[in-house]
Symmetry: C2
Subunit: 404 residues, 2 copies
DNA sequence: AGACCATAATCTAAGTCTTGAATAAAGTCA
DNA sequence: TGACTTTATTCAAGACTTAGATTATGGTCT
């Protein structure tokens, strides 16, 4: 099978065409390597990117001239000219991440290295998720964090927003979120009325997945699945290093994976969904606990402590669902995140691994495939901000240096 | 979301680096366009590939000189020089596809346009799947089809083999197939002992999926899932135009998707797998029919005619499984293939669609997403031969023209 | 029939990009 | 101070695509 090493043929047309695209691609690759590979010398970059020293030299020259990259000290080399370390300029620009959650809207400001500089949180009454109110919260939040962070507004590169439900790509960013009662809310349009900053809207589970992929437990993997467990259950599928979205941009709905055909009714209207068993709301219902969304966390902790048979069943169902994911995706890692996921996984990780393994005899599955997320409550906003960084990479690679 | 158009950032390093790779990529793209786009003029190719007329001209010149491409008539243009049509030379080389199935080994010879030129089938007693016997069948089959096809042996570009179970990539092509009792059979090594032809081994469900993707119901899609239903159930996941294999190259095991947590025992050792309900073997067992694998087909037909409640339950389970796939992958199309799948789908397609839709209320799911495979019993061997074609594309793009 | 027009394919000059080799820069060690 | 190392930059060469000019091929008009 020596010959079978190459990838499977892309049926569609691959993009790269002109020699200029090549430069863009290489530039983006170098920038990415620098961003994720921490400070590195030009020589290191040759190794990582596979480019020649000459190319690295000219490219870093451009990037230094643009102040996108800065020097970061030197390091001695035994008996030669010391290496100059380079890194992405953390204060070249800033990114704002927004988490539109069930109980609050969180707006946070980050520098390029994702250090948090300021935050503004707004409680939202659970029953009412008026789109315009949410938009107002976001817009005032943006102003607040910019002034609190003490940075010039024109250095903000954009706003990333993580929302529940499915986001239809397009200038309007139509959001459909059943739990919010949002039928087709044009959140993009609402926000654009109040700000001129570039805007990036995505599903909250996806932004959290991005955060775990870039900075959390998924770091370094090319094939992973992030399962986000809160009141409901969402997910992010990382395939060959990038997030998979499917034909209609709605892929990754792990919560509606079926675990019991014809089983318990789910709030999506179907039956037997994973979410109908392992979502926090579903666990509480099954345990007969009544709690409004404000103190779901305490209530769930209570159920988990109680030793109720519901807990064992939950683990069982989660194991079944995860084993389906293992068979379909054969991932290198499965990351369990979200507040309910971390609570459940923090106490029952071994049981969850065992339940998955019991359903997954056939394959090369190691139980340490399943890990907990490393990021806490900020993950959604953080991940939303990475949408801005992503765009920044693209833009920086695209921009032709002015060669003064 | 105007800015959100680009793809999600590839965390890994994208390949393209030198300007030469660019040419290779463009060449491969052109060749692919010509192969799948049927006969086309140079001008058409400009439109399809996005390359300039000059580049298309020089590239087609090279390909014509190599006899990889040939002229295929002309077509008038109202009031101008007529277009010369080009196409891939169907007799430039040949591909052999092998289907190692439960009841027989099929070896088939195709030209580049996948016209079948010769075939050799060998029955295998179901109990015994001696690896060496299988290898001998393949090798004699290869000799047979070459001489029967009346083509020069040196024009055979390679042998593609579709086998059950999981294939470990590498020169040995270790095959693990529980149903065959193959623990770690080095099929690649066995075959290489008897032939010098390039060898490509892959899972049979994957090769069938390739066939449907290239020539069958999956043609033209970038996000699709092929479900192969025979005695057992396998699958192929097409993500962004290429087949997804996962970290350990074992992705796409649709048969072991869980549909009933803790349900019916599956031959894989776990419980509640889709295969344990909708695989032909499982259907017969549940209906209480005893049949050896030779006449499973007739037996299954009998069960389907009988109106047994098992049939309704099978549809129900299949619907649950397919809805899981819809939620996870949001595919443009789901293709049901394999002899059992075609038999089931031929009679109950509407019921299957309805059962899936009932479980999939939340998403933009149209029932015509689910279709039947268009290829029959040859699909596995045909798809195996496409592995050879794939490699041919890579090689032809790589090869620098000699510029005499 | 011959001038003229429209379309297709090829040729030419120019521009962009990466590379390898040569050169410069900065230090260490004896 | 001078030989030797390692890092970074510069430069000429080579590869590739492109826009625009040129050639090829046939139809239409008078």
């Amino acid at each position: 099978m020596a010959e079978h090493s190459g990838e499977d043929g892309t049926m569609g047309t691959p993009e790269r065409r002109t020699v200029r695209d090549l430069r863009r691609g290489n530039r983006a690759m170098l920038l990415r390597a620098l961003y994720f590979g921490g400070p590195a010398s030009r020589n290191d970059l040759c190794g990582v990117t596979g480019l020649s020293a000459a190319t690295v030299s000219t490219m870093t020259g451009d990037l230094l001239a643009d102040h996108v990259v800065v020097e970061a000290g030197q390091v001695d080399s035994d008996g030669g000219r010391p290496r100059v370390l380079l890194r992405v300029n953390p204060v070249y620009g800033y990114a704002i991440g927004v988490d539109v959650g069930e109980t609050q809207v969180r707006v946070e400001l980050f520098d390029l290295e994702m250090k948090e500089l300021a935050r503004a949180h707004y409680a939202v009454r659970s029953a009412r998720h008026d789109p315009e109110l949410v938009a107002r919260h976001i817009l005032t939040g943006v102003d607040t964090v910019i002034s609190e962070g003490g940075i010039p507004a024109e250095q903000v590169l954009g706003i990333g927003v993580g929302v529940p439900g499915i986001v239809e790509p397009g200038p309007e960013a139509l959001v459909r979120a059943k739990t919010f009662g949002w039928e087709a809310v044009p959140l993009g349009a609402l926000l654009r009325a109040g700000t001129a900053l570039p805007l990036y809207v995505d599903n909250g589970a996806k932004t959290m997945g991005r955060a775990e992929l870039w900075f959390g437990s998924g770091r370094g993997t090319r094939d992973a699945i992030m399962v986000l467990m809160g009141s409901g259950v969402g997910g992010t599928i990382v395939a060959d290093g990038s997030i998979y979205r499917g034909a209609g941009k709605a892929a990754g709905e792990v919560g509606h994976l079926k675990v019991v055909a014809g089983g318990r009714a789910c709030r999506c209207g179907a039956r037997g969904c994973l979410e109908a068993y392992v979502g926090a709301e579903a666990i509480l219902e099954r345990a007969g606990v009544v709690a409004d969304s404000a103190d779901e966390e305490a209530a769930l902790a209570g159920v988990l402590e109680s030793g109720s048979p519901v807990v064992a069943e939950t683990v069982e169902m989660l194991g079944a669902g995860l084993s389906s994911l293992v068979h379909l995706f054969n991932p290198e890692r499965i990351v369990i995140g979200g507040w309910a996921g971390l609570m459940l996984g923090g106490r029952l990780l071994e049981e969850i691994r065992a339940a998955t393994a019991a359903n997954t005899l056939a394959q090369p599955f190691q139980s340490d495939t399943i890990v907990l997320g490393r990021l806490g409550a900020d993950a959604v906003a953080l991940g939303a901000a990475t949408l801005v960084i992503e765009a920044f990479f693209r833009e920086a690679a695209f921009r032709q240096s002015v060669t003064t």
